[in-house]
Amino acid sequence: MDKIARIDMGAAGGPKVTVGDLGEYAGLGGRAMTSLVVAAEVHPLAHALGAENKLVISPGMLSGTTGSMTGRLSVGCKSPLTGTIKESNAGGQAAQVLARLGYAAVILEGKPVGDDLYKIVINKDGIKVIVDNSLKMMDNYLLVAKLRQEFGDKVAYMTIGSAGERKLLAASIACTDPELRPTRHCGRGGVGAVMGAKRVKAIILDDAGMKMRPAKDLDKFRDANRLFVEGLRKHPVTGEGLPAYGTNVLTNVLNEAGGYPTNNFKSGQFAGSSKISGEAQAELEIKRGGSATHGCHRGCVIQCSGIYNDKDGKYLTKQPEYETVWSHGGHCGIDDLDTIAQLDRIDDNIGVDTIEMGVTIGIAMDAGLIEFGDKAGAIRLMEEVQKGTPLGRVLGSGAGITGKVFGVERVPVVKNQALPAYDPRAVQGIGVTYATTTQGADHTAGYAIATNILKVGGDVDPLKTEGQIELSRNLQIATAAIDSTGMCLFIAFAILDQPETFQALLDMLGSFYGITMTGDDVVALGKKVLSAERDFNTRAGFTKHDDRLPRFFYNEPIAPHNQTFLMKDEELDEVFNW
C-alpha cells in the first residue's frame, strides 16, 4: 500500500488516472485515510453530487495481510444525505484485494459531462476506465452476474444498483462476498449516490499475480495474529454468540430491556419480537439448508453472518443482520422473517442502506401510506424505489425527506440520517453517540450498547445519565482508530474485556509497520481522525445545535420505562472536549 490512485472522471478528453506516492497520507488506511483526505481536499460547502466532491476508497492499515479480521473497507466523501463528512464501512473481499494491489486509496474525483457510464478495472498492470453503457440501470445481482461473464470469479466487485445511478440519498455501494454475492454494503450516508454522480457503475478488483502484504517483522506478526485469534475464539461473544446467532441475537435482548423501537419509536417492546429473533432466524436458516455461520470476507474468524434460503431451500439473501431485521421488522410492525429477508434482498439488489430504507418505510406507515404490519405493502413500496417512480424517489431519499413530504412529526434522524435499532430513551448512552457523532445518527460510531445493555467492557446503567458522556467519548475515539485498521469492529467485544487480546492487536500493528504501538498511539490516532471530521463539519456549517436528538425524544416518554432522553445539551457539548 505505497501508492494512491486518483481518477479524474471529469478530465477533458475522458477520465484520467494518476498514480502517486502517499505523501502526507503515509501510514494511513481506512477511515483515517478517507476522513483526512476529504477534510483536506473537499470544499466543505461543495455539493455532494458535484464535481468538487471526492469519493475516497481505502483498505485498512492491516488489510491485504495474513492478519485475521482485516478485510474492512472504508469509503469516504461529503455525504449527500447528511451534508457532513462520511465514512461508510463494509466487509466483503474488496479491501483485501485493493490492499494487495498496493493502493492505500483510490480517489474518484471530478464528474464527467454527458451520460456515459463507466467501469473501472484495477489489476497488476494498472487502472483502466472503460465506457460500458450496457450496464445502465442494472441492479446489483444481475450486474455482478454480467460482470462475472467478463471478469470471472477470482476478482472482487464494487458496484452500484439503480438507486446509485439515480443518485438517491439512501444509495449504497455493494461489495461482493467470497461467493461473489453483492451483499456487503457501504450503506450509510448515500455514498452510492456519489459514485453514481461520478458515473462509475462498477469497480473490478483483480489481484492475480499479487502477494500478501508482508510484515516488517514476520515472526512477531505471525505470533501476534495467533494470540489475537485465540483471544477472539475464547471470548463468549466473538467465539460463541456471534458465530451461532449473528447480530440478530440482539432482538430479544433489546426487546427484554425495553429499548427496541417499535412502530416508528412508539414503544420500546414489540409483541412479535420472538418470531424474528436471532434464535428463530438461526433455526430456520439451518432447517432450510442455509447456514447460520458465514464470514463476509476470507480471514474472518468470528463469522457473524449466515445464508438465508427461501421456503424451497433456494438462496434468497445473506442473513439479514440485527439492524435490518429491526428496521424492516419491529420498526414497521412486521413479524415475519421471510418478508424481512425479501426486503433485505431488494435493498441489496437496488443498492440502498437497509437502515435508512427500513426506517423510511416505517415513516410512510406512520403517514398512513400503508398500515403498520403490512408486509405486501412494504414490498410494494420498495418496488416503487426500484422502478424510480416519483414516490420511489421520495422514499429512496430517506427518512428525513419522506417525513417532510408526508408531514410526519416523529422522524427519528440526526443530521438527516436515520437512527438505528436502539431507543435512546431506554439506552441513554447510545443517544449521546447518535447526537454527537460526526456521521449523523450511527450506532457503530460509539457502541454504548456494549456497556449499557450487554455488560461487555464495563457496566453503565442505561437508564441514567451518569458516565454516558465519558463512555461515548472513549468509544468514539477507539472506534475511529479501529475503523482505520481494517479490522471488523466486532473485535471490540474481545479487546474491551481481554487486555492480552488488545495487546495482540497492538503487536500486530507494531510488527507489521516495524514500530512500537501503544494504547496511547491508538487513542491519538482516533482523536486525530475525529478532529479532522469535526473540523470539516464545522466548516460545512454544523454547530452544537446539530448535535441534538429530535425533540420527540425529549418530550414523549416511552414504555416500558416511561422515560425520555435525559442528557442535557451542555453535557452533549462536552463529548469532544478531551
Binding site: G241, L242, K455, L463
Partner: protein, 74 residues
C-alpha cells in the same frame, strides 16, 4: 410466589424458553440460575421486569426474570 423465567440463546439448549413457577419468598436471581444449572461465569445479561439486576437481587411475586449468556451484536 409466582415468577416467570425466560431463557435466551444457548441457555435454551436442554432447558426451556419461558416457564412460570412457584418459588419460596426470598429467592434471588442466583438461586434461580443455580436451580437451572446455569454456570455463573456464563451469565451475561440479567433483567427483572426490563431492568438490569445483579445475582443477589431478591425476586418478588409477579417478577419476570430474563437470563442471557454474554452476547454481542451491532
Amino acid at each position: 410466589m409466582n415468577i416467570t423465567v425466560k431463557l435466551f440463546a444457548s441457555f435454551r439448549n436442554g432447558r426451556f424458553e419461558i416457564k412460570s413457577g412457584d418459588y419460596p419468598p426470598g429467592t434471588t436471581v442466583a438461586d434461580v440460575s443455580d436451580c437451572l444449572n446455569l454456570p455463573q461465569n456464563e451469565l451475561g445479561i440479567m433483567l427483572v421486569n426490563s431492568c438490569h439486576v445483579k445475582l443477589d437481587r431478591v425476586l418478588v411475586e409477579g417478577d419476570t426474570l430474563a437470563l442471557f449468556p454474554l452476547l454481542g451484536g451491532g
